[in-house]
């Protein structure tokens, strides 16, 4: 496990006490080795983000995950504030800004809308990947590898633990796969989410750690 990837999950949910899905997701990954769960609303209740500390965290990890519910086709506000402050010129981009180069970036989101709604003909008119363009481009400008997103759709239909559990298990498996570098990227086609066909995408793990 020594060359395992270290994963930083930047988690943003302003009302965790009302959450059904995200709460279970973070509970399922809290104990994973080499995974740092960083709950932004808990760490910075008044949005006073400690830039130096955040940058140090970024440097200490290889995979950066933005985990959040989809709010107004984007992230909850604190994650935007985090980007505005932490991704400084000279650190993340621009002259000499190479701190993040080569790291992997993953969006892990939950949306109220169902997948069909996120299409040209659907109510939301754009696909998730299109709507996530700002995150994708941010990652690329910082020199990071942008991974296909992990998306859970139609959260209002998931009200029982039994319905959420398969997603929770996949999320855990995915993070383990990223950590142990067992994801086969070529197995993915354009436009796919990392949740689908996880068995196909995750190669046999060198470390057999079953969730």
């Amino acid at each position: 496990m020594d060359n395992a990837n270290r994963i930083l999950v930047l988690f943003a949910h302003p009302a965790l006490h009302k959450s059904w899905v995200n709460r279970r997701l973070i509970r399922a990954i809290g104990d994973l080795e080499h995974v740092t769960l960083h709950d932004l609303y808990e760490a910075y209740p008044s949005f006073h983000i400690d830039v130096k500390r955040e940058q140090a965290l970024l440097l200490a990890h290889d995979v950066i995950v933005f985990q959040h519910p989809f709010y107004w086709y984007s992230s909850p506000a604190i994650l935007k504030e985090w980007q505005d402050l932490v991704l400084e010129h000279g650190f993340a981009y621009g002259a000499g800004g190479t701190a993040l180069a080569g790291k992997k970036f993953l969006s892990a989101i939950t949306t109220g809308g169902q997948q069909q709604a996120y299409s040209r003909s659907g109510a939301n008119r754009f696909a998730i990947r299109e709507l996530l363009a700002p995150f994708e481009q941010t990652a690329r400008l910082c020199g990071m590898d942008w991974l296909p997103p992990f998306v859970i759709h139609g959260t209002h239909l998931l009200r029982e633990a039994g319905q959420i559990d398969p997603y929770v298990r996949s999320y855990r498996l995915l993070l383990m796969g990223l950590r142990d570098d067992t994801v086969r990227w070529d197995g993915l086609s354009e436009g796919e989410y990392l949740y689908h066909n996880l068995e196909r995408v995750l190669g046999p793990s060198p470390v057999t750690d079953h969730a």
């Binding site: 006073h48 010129h89 621009g94 080569g102 690329r140 400008l141 020199g143 590898d145």
Partner: protein, 618 residues
Amino acid sequence: MHDESLFLQAFIYLAAAVVAVPISNRLGLGSVLGYLIAGVVIGPFGLRLVGQEGEDVMHFAEFGVVMLLFLVGLELQPSRLWRLRLPILGMGGLQVLATALLIAALAMGLGLAWTMALAVGLILSMSSTAIGLQSLDEKGLAKTDAGQSAFSVLLFQDIAVIPILALLPLLAYEKADLGGHGPALNPWLQAVMVLGIVAGIIVGGRYLMRPVFRIVAATRLREVFTAMALLLVIGIALAMQQVGLSPALGTFVAGVVLADNEYRHELEGDIAPFKGLLLGLFFLTVGASIDFGLLIERPWLILGLVVALVFTKLGVLVALGRGFRLAWSQTLLFGFALAQGGEFAFVLFSFATKAKVLPESLTAVLVAVVAFSMLLTPLLLIANDRWLQPRFASPDEEREADGIDTSDSPVIIAGFGRFGQVVGRLLLAHRCRITVLDHSPAQIDLLRRFGWTVFYGDAGRLDLLQAAGAAQARLLVVAIDDPDKALEIVALAQKHFPHLAILARAQDRRHAYALIRHGVSLIRRETFGSALEMGIDALRLLGVRAHRAHRIAQTFRQHDEAALQEMATIEGDDALVIARSRQLTHDLEQLLQADGYSISADNDQAWDVVARRGLSRG
């Protein structure tokens, strides 16, 4: 042995308690068993240090039960009592009835006349409040389902003593002169007096006691308050005896009436030690009064009767527990806690002998049986704990723990002045239950008028913290305005309630240092927050935009709080302190310069890249 001075007697009893109880506790046997065994040891069949006068001492010690019920009442707001009406009447009523009839049937089977059998059944249906409640309390089980049920049954028994006392003379085998025991009054007059006294207790408790407490508390003399608390309990007990009611019942009612009173915790703290001592004394005398002579003479008879008594009662209690849907673990606890004869049995047997209901030869045996059954209870509870409970362990136990947390308040606020009030109001607005202690009668009065529930008391007293529920609470907010006292409370709480998270109001920097060195991690300087706010106002008036002013203040706060923690460790060495604080000020300036959204000209250039420079890989 009979002309020993009072002091010598007191010395013997106290010494027995001080030696026996710690040993028994150490062995995990609980204090009740310790007292009982100590009683046996100093009694006529042990070292013969106490003898016949044990009887009188026992009557005196029974007053411990009266105090116990007063304290139980204090914990029980009328609304909670009302919620218990079903178990009290249902469980309690069925328990007395079923046990009395079963025992009576057994007694008739053994050849007693039905009148005697019935009298024996009724008397033995009583359980021991002292042993039952004390054992449960000591294990922290008083608020479990089993504890509540046990309490309900015991309360009903207390009430049932009155009709039983009235009924017994009707069962006499020959006419007896009762010589004034039991009021020979006209029953109507008696009923009126009973109602009058109970009404007096309720009305007096509601309206009269508050001003009296206030006046006494204003003297700030603790012993006067204690004296008044004792006076209250003794006075009620006397009044109840006048009309032939159980004093325990009367003080229980008084306790319930005062449960909402702001002086409740103070009363609890003052009465508790007396209750403890008297109950201990009571157990000692029970131990000393056990007639081993009888046991040696007729061992099989006594042992057989003890076993029969305990198992009959246990059977009824278990059936009731299950019938009232208690979990198995709770049912067993409930059963074992009450499967013994009670202290009322002693009183009732002697009354029954005088009333010629039961012959002396019979009651002597039965009194011994009751005493042995009391000795057995702690042992049965231990057996239950060690061997039976583990089989029913876990899932529902956890839920019980939760139950405790919601019935008591998780937060104690010491000091409810300008500071504590804001903390308290915020918590209440979030529907969090709080227990508030304040030391100024005038302040409490004022707050009460605004509808606040505040208790009188000095949070620097261990017994008061205890009474306020520190053992169950999760947080202690020390918000008093006396810095030295605050440190005292912190030390006290850390020593006795290490599980409590402490939040402290610091008067100034120096006080904050002291608190930090005491190991308090959550400290707020009382004026810091508002001063900072005003700093923001000033910056804004100077033309700094609001958000920036806000951020500057937050950076300042963070820096200052970190500095506070650091300086607390080096305070004392002046030169070092000054040097370090200069450095910190300098750091802060640097920090504020650098803070914010780093926007500069070459920053902007970075966005204006026409060609991709191969930065991205995907």
